[in-house]
Amino acid sequence: DAGVTQSPTHLIKTRGQQVTLRCSPKSGHDTVSWYQQALGQGPQFIFQYYEEEERQRGNFPDRFSGHQFPNYSSELNVNALLLGDSALYLCASSWDRGNEKLFFGSGTQLSVL
């Protein structure tokens, strides 16, 4: 049973570019959440997708957008990259609202130069 998988594992971009990160949830999970973890910080909630719609959103600008596909996989898009967007981006999956437990992928390390 595959867990949460994310791609790519590492990515280097320059300021102003756009990036797309991908996530496949754990088998049987229908909800995907995205988190940003800056160096020395805890994961910060970006948004959550359920039934192909954004259900909740954290305190992130509109440059951060996402999508969930019918097979429950998800993408995180970031436009007009800033140096401060450099971070580990974590995808987590769960059942429904998942208020009890999240299962995390290994993350995508994004560096913006």
């Binding site: 949460v4 959440s33 988190y35 020395g40 910080q41 805890g42 994961p43 910060q44 909630f45 959550q48 909740q56 954290g58 974590l90 987590a92 609202r97 208020n99 009890e100 437990k101 999240l102 299962f103 995390f104 992928g105 290994s106 993350g107």
Partner: protein, 109 residues
């Protein structure tokens, strides 16, 4: 708005002794609290959780204590093992998860 705080960035403990990791929160509406463990180059993995209506939950070597009046929770690891060396995050959840900044635990053989 840091709703969950871990004020100790690091902790070192001798193998076999008790490790106590602490966490404070400000949001009284949290209904679950969780601890996650993170190794380098891996995502956080779930360790143990506690409902806000309980004050203690135990799972093997790991026990979480919740003091709602103090808005404080702690994770006890007994006995500590070298493989427990990792970063530990506490989290509170209501309609979304709020994570602390983590405590790096080093268990010295």
């Amino acid at each position: 708005d840091q709703q969950v705080k871990q004020n100790s960035p690091s902790l070192s403990v001798q193998e076999g002794r008790i490790s106590i990791l602490n966490c404070d929160y400000t949001n009284s509406m949290f209904d679950y609290f969780l601890w996650y463990k993170k190794y380098p180059a891996e995502g956080p993995t779930f360790l143990i959780s506690i409902s806000s209506i309980k004050d203690k939950n135990e799972d093997g070597r790991f026990t979480v204590f919740l003091n709602k009046s103090a808005k404080h929770l702690s994770l006890h690891i007994v006995p500590s093992q070298p493989g427990d060396s990792a970063v530990y995050f506490c989290a509170g959840t209501g309609n979304q998860f709020y994570f602390g900044t983590g405590t790096s635990l080093t268990v010295i053989p």
